[in-house]
């Protein structure tokens, strides 16, 4: 079921559909699920429902499985996967369901913007009307100036990710856009108005409803299930200051670099080993900045690599073959899980028209807050 505006589906409907798909895909049958982790940022504010993990266990008849909702802003999905991974690694659970979901479109646009803005620093950011696009706009102004990134570079991210999203039946926006339509035509500004200068509408991800789910288990059980094996080879997480103003260099996304380094260290791999990456392009500038902070390109080289086509599905390092947050959509709690689902499909060769050629190692970065709590994950196909 694609991410979109699901007017007639509740958050629980979305989580239940994605969870059943994941259970069936893994071939679990009647095998018990020991633990359930639900990545969700703000069901209490968006949907007036809390304890959603307990509710999901009930919907799916998974009692007496343990169940928790995991909240880490827009990185709730990545954090839920990390918790599921830890449960299996610690021997606490053998079979874990990790679902991520958010239903954001049941409230008006300005209400949704306000709810998401509640993750900003309350006393020195939120009170001014600072939103996530506002933080991204202030970041983009500095980053673009420092590394000579142009609006054309940002549009290249949009065009690439919309092209990829048009190949993804699960994407919220399955529509291609052109440079003329969003930037160069005299009337492009009507299609693509300024949201948070210098960022325009097509630099920002849509607000979506949706859910995604994965099953995590031990290698022994995974081999019994007879599905192609994909291993979580490494997970890293790191934090940074809450307020953007307190970062000595606001263009340095320290938590992204640190989370990626930790994930690669656990996996015993390097950025050079990655064949496909899902980065958190909530704003186009972030795809470029993260591609550098994760170690795929030197600082200042991300836009050049993008312009040279290196990050296309057919390039040397495909980034966001799913369409990314830009086109797949960004139901905040779902995104971190959806990134890993896309990597699993890619590593299994099940990604259809957007399939990257024979990838073995996948990498995801899920960016919480404005980069103040970031989860990076390395996955690897096992023979």
């Amino acid at each position: 079921m694609p991410f979109e505006r699901h007017e007639y589906k509740s958050l629980m409907d979305l989580l239940a559909v994605a969870s059943l798909r994941a259970m069936d895909d893994a071939g679990l049958g009647d095998r018990p699920v020991d633990a359930v982790y639900v990545g969700n940022m703000a069901s209490g504010l968006f949907n007036h429902q809390v304890s959603v993990a307990s509710a999901l266990v009930d919907r799916l008849s998974l009692m007496p499985a343990t169940a928790e909702r995991i909240e880490n802003g827009p990185a709730s999905g990545g954090s839920a996967i990390k918790n599921g991974f830890l449960a299996v690694a610690a021997g606490f659970a053998d079979v874990v369901l990790v679902a991520g979901g958010e239903k954001m479109r049941g409230v008006s646009g300005p209400r949704s913007t306000d709810i998401v803005s509640a993750m900003a620093q309350p006393d020195v950011e939120y009170i001014y009307g600072v939103t996530l696009p506002a933080l991204a706009g202030m970041f983009a102004r500095l980053y673009m100036d420092k590394f000579r990134i142009t609006p054309e570079h940002l549009a290249m991210v949009t065009i690439k990710n919309h092209n990829n999203g048009a190949l993804n039946p699960y994407a919220h926006i399955q529509m291609i856009v052109t440079l003329e339509g969003i930037l160069t035509h005299p009337q492009a500004k009507f299609n693509n108005p300024v949201v948070a200068d210098p960022l325009r509408l097509y630099d920002c991800c849509p607000v979506s409803d949706g859910a995604a789910a994965v099953i995590l288990t031990t290698e022994e059980i995974a081999r019994q299930l007879k599905k192609p094996l994909v291993k979580i080879a490494g997970i890293g997480q790191a934090t940074d200051t809450h307020a953007l103003q307190e970062r000595s260099d606001p263009t340095d996304l320290k938590a992204v670099s640190c989370a990626a380094e930790r994930a690669f260290a656990m996996a015993g791999l390097t950025p050079k080993d990655v064949d496909v990456a899902e980065l958190h392009d909530a704003f186009t500038i972030l795809e470029i900045a993260e591609s550098e902070h994760c170690g795929f390109f030197e600082k200042g080289e991300g836009a050049r690599a993008l312009a040279a086509g290196e990050t296309q599905i057919t390039g040397s390092l495909p980034i966001n073959p799913s369409g990314g947050l830009k086109a797949r959509g960004h139901p905040v709690g779902a995104t971190g899980v959806a990134q890993v689902v896309e990597l699993v499909w890619q590593l299994r060769g099940e990604a259809g028209k957007r399939q990257v050629k024979d990838p073995e190692v996948g990498f995801a970065v899920n960016f919480g807050g404005f980069g103040n709590n970031v989860v990076a994950t390395v996955v690897r196909r096992e023979g």
Binding site: D114, S117, D123, V124, Y128, A134, L142, A196, L244, E246
Partner: protein, 115 residues
Amino acid sequence: MIKKADLTAYKCRACGHVMYPRHDRCLNCNGREFDKIEPQGKARLLTYTILNELPWGIDERGRVIGIVEFENGVRATGLVLTEEPKVGMKLAATMQPVRVISGIKTYGLAFEPTK
């Protein structure tokens, strides 16, 4: 009503690191004792955005929000009261109503262009 800016920042007694807002441990050295300091001199605009999509409760478009740095290193986010913001421009700090939260008029920093 426009008020004089009464921002209180915190300077670590151990290492001198300047913080705003207050933290319980110093971001630089983990020290726990701070001197209250006021921002000194003019503010310089480090970065800004012009925000057209505002959250519920703020009924306007084109709000300019920026991060500034005062001459003694205090950094703050606030409104920038000009239609032509420019990185590096000099600003003077005032306190003005910035948002109504739960029915209460909340005052915050609003920066005006100065020479």
